[in-house]
């Protein structure tokens, strides 16, 4: 086992390497490209016995990933943002083939306007697809989660593809210390893919994507995929326990940090969690009984584990780094549905939208969110959702608008003359 500085992207590539992948269909997109470049470099140097193929789009790439997985080999691919959306038709299609593989998504905000910086609206667009989802907070977690994803996605009780998500820039390009497990430890945890009945061959044609007429077969196949995803919860717990034995690190489906006696909990996903831990520590020093609940697994949704972690908590500040237009934060809505009517559920779930397009969430903002949520819990009155946005930020936008509107006026004058 060696400890070295790795970016989130390099950690994802190391996960694929240690999983001894066979095939990686690829298409470049910022901020993901380094992952496939690293794999290409290792294949070229003879350090990884796999085949990497550049496809002409993410749509083809995900189709190729599913088709290759259906032959029973171990497949890895990666994309981000607009790329994930471009492949979205195949994302929904291949999950129904029940041929497992791992797709790393490097989260990046969606157009419009286009950006390179992270938020989770991209990966949440795949929420209902049948792909399982693991969300990571550190580079270490990225490497370990790729290994966990193969183990539980390939399990014969599950057989579903898995997305491992990491944040662009804040993880993808950020180096931090990572322990790389030994190949022996990984081999003991993750044996070669036992494809069972998944063995599509050219000589034995099988139609993987039948058309059905009538709702009976349609509902059957769709609901079976849903049941498999739900059943993956306990398979995940088994895999996480096996990983802890093999590699010495615990990755529960839900992280509960300093929650045992917490009165206030932050609820969020992704790399914002390390900053939230810091805020929890500072708040504790100041006498506030704060904690953090972070689902690592978002599909399947670990509702019971989340409810357990929040039992006895008075108020929750949900920080959504995503936006469902016309509704609000996705995590907030899902949490509310999971906790509705549960005994001992928190009195207030306050919705905050923060971190859109990579915006930092500051320590004082965590403090403010804690105060607002606690007040809501004590008074039994929940305030409307709040976008984390300051007067200074609006002032910057106003400057840009002044230029744009000046330009429009100038062009209109030109057009008339």
């Amino acid at each position: 086992m060696s400890r070295r500085l790795l970016t989130g992207n390099a950690a994802a590539a190391w996960g694929a390497r240690l999983a001894r992948i066979d095939y990686a269909p690829a298409f470049p997109i910022t901020p993901q490209t380094e992952i496939l470049e690293a794999l290409g470099g290792w294949i070229e140097a003879g350090e990884l016995d796999a085949k990497l193929v550049l496809l002409e789009s993410e749509h083809s790439m995900i189709a190729a990933a599913g088709a290759a997985a259906a032959t029973g080999v171990r497949v890895f691919t990666a994309t981000s943002s607009q790329g994930l959306l471009y492949g979205m038709e195949m994302v929904f299609t291949v999950s129904g083939w029940r041929a497992p593989f791992v797709l790393v998504n490097v989260s990046r905000g969606l157009a419009t306007p286009i950006t390179l910086e992270p938020d989770h609206t991209d990966v949440l667009a795949a929420r209902d697809s049948g792909f399982l989802q693991i969300h990571c907070a550190t580079s270490q977690e990225v490497l370990d989660s790729v290994l966990l994803a193969y183990r539980f996605g390939e399990d014969p009780r599950v057989r579903l593809p898995v997305i491992v998500n990491l944040d662009g820039f804040h993880l993808s390009f950020t180096r931090e210390p990572v322990e790389i497990p030994t190949p022996e430890a990984v081999d003991a945890f993750l044996p070669p893919f036992d494809a069972g009945a998944v063995r599509f061959r050219a000589s034995h044609p099988v139609s993987q994507a039948v058309a059905v007429l009538g709702s009976g077969p349609y509902s059957y196949f769709r609901y079976e995929t849903h049941l498999a995803a739900q059943g993956a919860l306990c398979v995940y717990d088994e895999a996480a326990a096996a990983f802890a034995r093999a590699c010495g690190r615990e990755w529960p489906a839900v992280e509960a940090y300093r929650c045992d006696d917490a009165e206030l909990a932050f609820f969020l996903i992704g790399s914002l969690a390390t900053r939230a831990r810091d805020a929890v520590d500072r708040l504790r020093e100041a006498g506030v009984r704060a904690g953090l609940v972070r689902p690592r697994l978002l599909r399947p949704y670990p509702a019971a584990a989340i409810a357990r972690a929040l039992e006895g908590v008075l108020a929750v500040a949900v920080v959504d780094q995503n936006l469902s237009m016309g509704k609000g934060g996705v995590l907030h809505a899902e949490l509310a549905s999971a906790l509705w009517g549960a005994p001992g559920a928190p009195r207030a779930l306050v919705s905050f939208i923060g971190g859109l397009g990579g915006r930092s969430v500051t320590l004082e903002e965590f403090r403010e969110m804690a105060e607002i949520a606690l007040r809501a819990g004590r008074e039994g009155r929940t305030p409307p959702p709040r976008l984390l946005y300051t007067a200074e930020e609006l002032r910057e936008v106003r400057k840009l608008q002044a230029i744009a509107h000046g330009e429009r006026a100038a062009l209109a004058t030109e057009g008339r003359s």
Partner: protein, 321 residues
């Protein structure tokens, strides 16, 4: 067995926060990584990251290094830095580069350039320590500024040995080849030695006290009509507004005596439309927008256009507005 709490670490203690500024191509990402690796070799917990967008060579970029004795929980840009490293002094007056952002009285400023520390102190009205590093000549295959700045920064923080610095440079520059490694190591060690008078002048920032922080100045966004709230830009005007001349490290300069007045050639090849036919058919350069790609130098049939390093050029980087 490590629990999740152990893995992510307990409360953060004091942390070195170091911000690098430079231009694309000057080796800033590499310099920050070398400094990060040197800290790591000295037993620190480290986080380092470059930050850039869709820009190209010459555009302002930044990189960040955090190092402490406990795992680092902060992420993203460093606003309040203990050390600000400026690899190219011409960036200091460029507002969009944000070089002076969040500089506190205790922050150390390191400037790679010929201007003296006294001049900077007076011009910028800074009270904190300023160190200057004379620019190194361009050398074999290694972007000089990044390596030299890494060496100087390592000495300024005082927690990194010469050997750890050299090891880190060898590791990070290795992909560029053996000659680049030797050149980078020499540059970094030279800069390390030059900074001896300032050794250890950078002090780790303390963890912020929660009670001392101001309340966030949040507002409710007003709902506005689409003719205000749609993100429209008007290309013909916006391209004028964005002064890409700031990205330039070298500029094309015309020798009118050699010019054949075939300005349709240089102006057609210019990818930014920054050359027009001027008086008597001589090409005129728009230095507000010329990015310094020097395609015109390459295509000029009579070799009448030469490249002049921006530091040696006469006249401002962009025309006065």
């Amino acid at each position: 067995m490590a629990s999740l709490v152990d893995l992510l670490g307990a409360s953060a203690g004091n942390v070195f926060r170091i911000r690098f500024h430079g231009r694309g191509g000057q080796g800033i990402k590499l310099g920050a990584r070398a400094l990060g690796s040197a800290f790591f070799a000295e037993g620190f917990e480290v986080q380092d990251a470059p930050r850039y967008g869709a820009e190209r060579r010459g555009a302002p970029i930044a990189a960040y290094v955090r190092a402490g004795r406990a795992p680092i929980h902060e992420r993203g840009p460093i606003r309040e830095a203990d050390l600000v490293v400026v690899a190219d002094e011409s960036l200091i007056p460029v507002a969009t580069a944000g070089v002076l952002e969040g500089i506190a009285p205790a922050s150390v400023l390191l400037v790679n350039g010929l201007t003296s520390a006294e001049t900077w102190r007076e011009r910028l009205r800074l009270r904190g320590p300023i160190a200057t590093l004379p620019p190194a000549p361009a050398s074999a295959g290694a972007p000089p500024a990044g390596s030299a700045c890494a060496g100087a920064a390592a000495r300024l923080v005082g927690a990194i040995s010469r050997a750890a610095l050299e090891g880190a440079l060898r590791e990070e520059v290795a992909p560029l080849g053996a000659r680049a490694v030797e050149a980078s190591v020499a540059l970094a060690l030279h800069a390390f030695d030059l900074m001896a008078p300032h050794a250890g002048s950078v002090v780790e920032g303390e963890a912020p006290r929660l009670a001392a922080l101001p309340s966030p100045n949040w507002i409710d966004l007003p709902r506005e009509l689409p003719d205000v709230a749609a993100p429209d830009v008007f290309a013909s005007a916006t391209s004028v507004e964005v002064r890409t001349g700031l990205w330039r490290t070298a500029r094309p300069v015309l020798d009118p005596d050699r010019c054949h007045r075939c300005s349709w050639i240089c102006s057609s090849f210019c990818p930014d439309g920054a050359i027009s036919a001027g008086a008597e058919g001589l090409p005129a350069f728009d230095y507000d927008h010329c990015k310094g790609c020097l395609v015109c130098v390459a295509v000029c049939p009579s070799h009448a256009i030469r490249a002049v390093a921006e530091a040696d050029a006469e006249g401002p980087r962009e025309a006065a507005r």
